[in-house]
Amino acid sequence: MPEHTFRVNGEQVTVDVPDDVRLLWVLRDVLGITGPKYGCGISVCKACTSHLNGKGITPCAVPVKDLGPADEVTTIEGLAATAGGDLHPMQQAWLDHDVSQCGYCQPGQIMAAVALVRRVAAEGRAITDADLDSLRNVCRCGTYPRIRQAIRAAAANM
């Protein structure tokens, strides 16, 4: 089987899987990195949201062959390290606002929130209600209002 080499959470990994296996399953089923969750498999629920070179992706829609040795995948497990602490400011805001209920979608919510704040900051603007409305991650527990509060709080610390 073909080998694929890329970086995950700061470490280089090589996996021996067919080209078209999606990154979500390489992470979860091959590498045992279970923070990114399955919620739909077609990039609509966004529960698996992670980062590729700092930008948001849904690993359920990325064939592993699309990754190269220089590509850095960051999952929720590696997020804190990108901020150099035990917790990323977004994770801390999530704790401060006690956002999680069942918690299943929350890794994806946090990764999407970080990507959103980075993108908005790159545009030189502050987060608006319209930005928050644009988040597509499904939370079936309905934690949306606390997610909005947490993102606004974290944006001030990022």
Binding site: D29, G39, V44, L95, G103
Partner: protein
Amino acid sequence: MSEPFGRRRFLGYVLAGPVLATAAELALGRDTAAAQAPQVPSPEITDLLDLNDMMTAAALPTSGLISVEVQPDGTVSFSLPRAEVGQGITTSTAMLIAEELSVPLDRVRVTLADARPELLFNQLTGGSNTTIATYTPIRVAAAVARLRLLQAAAGEFGAAPADLRLRDGIVLDRAGRSIAIGDLAVKAASTRTEPVAVDLAPRESFTVIGRPTNRVDALAAVTGRKRFAMDLDVAGAKPTMVCRPPTINGKVGSVANLAEVRAMPGVTDVVVISTGVAVRADTFGQCIDAVRALRVTWRPGTAEGKSDQSVRQSLAAAEIPLGLRPPTPVVEGLFTFQFRSNSALEPNCAIADVRAGRAEIWSALKSPIVTKQAIAAKLGLPVSAVTVHVTEGGGSFGRKLFGDAALEAAEVSQKLGKPVKLMWHRADDSRQGRVHPMATSRVRISYLGGTVLSYTQRHTSVATDLSHGLGEIITAMAARLPVGDIGFSETFFQLSQQMSYNFGANSRLLSETDKSFNTGSMRNVYSPDVTCARELVVDQVAARMGKDPYRFRREFLRDARCRAVLDAVATAGGWGRSMPAGTAQGIAFHAEYKAVSAALVEIDCRPATVNRPIRDGVAGPRVTKVVFAVDVGLVVNPRGLEAQMMGGVMDGIAQALTAGLHLRDGYFLEASWDNYFYTRQWNTPPELRVIIVPSTSEQPGGAGELGVAASMAAVACAYGRATGTMPTTFPINHGTLSFTPKPTIPPVPPSPSDGLAHPWEP
């Protein structure tokens, strides 16, 4: 030392063991209304006995113990015989123990108990009953531990226990000497199991109970360390998925290409099972590819040819007549509530390892004893040979009352002789998973002048499957109810529906029909629909009498506790404020689970809002503000209670406006979250306030489901007032199909491969 006023004495146990273990009967401390109920029928049965009383009373004869253990490292462990699915009961349980045992919250470790058949009816998570049922026994077990620790410390110090204090996990004497409870864990242990009488801390001394507290699993959740069933590493349990029929509950006829699919990359096994064709592979991605490659001939399902329209007709035929129309003025309404999905974000899933003579199962299960018994029967094993581990659940909303995936995983594992990690694809979860049944509700209110004379409601529903164990409770209790010989569903309906308005003679009846669908008790069960119908007609009666909707409700609500929550939302929400055309407020009330609640909603139905562009989603009217007030009696964790009300509000918005299923030709068109429009960020009210009305009650009520009914009703009422037309079908967008249905063969969509092709979209 005199006993503080109001203390109550309870009997717990110290258990024989190497470290301190104490226990209480799970059925302890329940003052059931059943025991006090007069033996005459009453027009308002929930005054005498509600669903929670029934669940509680059903548990009384059981002798199952729950136990608290103090470990040498100073932690306290407790195995909770309930399912945590997001409702926050591991946190509230830890708080009860921390309070009574005077240990820091972070030293209390609450885990979920395996299925324990000896608990009989007492391991069902449902009816928002957990805190109601466990509030006293958990505290008694912790209080026994506290007493034993003080006695052990007294021995160490040569002091009287009364001269010692236990605080923050440390026992102190008057001389300033201290010893940590971990150092007493062995010394306080008992060689014999014996009863111990204890007093519980009085409410006025509480420092943990009632304090807003963050979830104990929050750190694990935000770091990705929280483990759900599919995150567990069980040796040899490879990903497994099932190729399912194109119609509801169809069966496999024949498979044309078994050998070909078995040879696909990563695939280890393909086998026909009772619900489809199971595929086991190295990754779920390869399962998806294999499921899509299978060529199966299918036999018909249980709902063949049925559609929304045909089910609606069968409901009309099953409706119990309202009775003769009285000679006084009446207002009537007939409402239709479409099928809804109770998919959680974690799909149906389970790990099973079935070997000769034994089976081990891991799954989030709210009724694990029933599942264990069902699996044993299916596998032909004795119940004692089946171990069922209850894992943390990624949401329930009714789904986890049933062990559908656990039964399936057990069947596959037995057939293959290998462990399996079985997960339903979202398309399976949406199309073959359990649903909230379609229902209609007809309401008639008769009135004369300013007086309401009678209230009549006929709720007609596709049958709700209650076979997860609640049915057993009802069986056990039905004979003791003052309602005569009526069925399970009618009993459940009568016990969960209250009439909180002084509306004269009232009659509310349920009729169920058609058992061909996979249904379940979705969060708050009948109440969102029943309440929504009632509150809409209440608005109509108020209008006929020329009264304001808030003032009218206030006038007819039957007690001060009900009025207090209504007043709270009216005041905080600025009821009656002037609003632009096309926008309006709505207000509604609901009582259940020994709690009362009210919602005030503001909605924007102006075309510019309704038609705002949303890619692959439904915009529709925007709820711009929600004020929700709740009185659940004694509150264990206000922050958790707020979270549950918030979630209930999001459910209510979804059910009123956007979230419904479309049935065509025996299957549901919705196959994923881009078809089923649960509330999303663009539907979320920018302003939400939850008000917890202070209560002097000594007893907690239920919270996990409470928020849905009043929210849905208030959104519906606001929509009616904003548009000038009372809505009669829910969700209101049901007439418009807002997506292109996915194919049914193959049953799951292809995995996209363009994840890097687009600039990032949130």
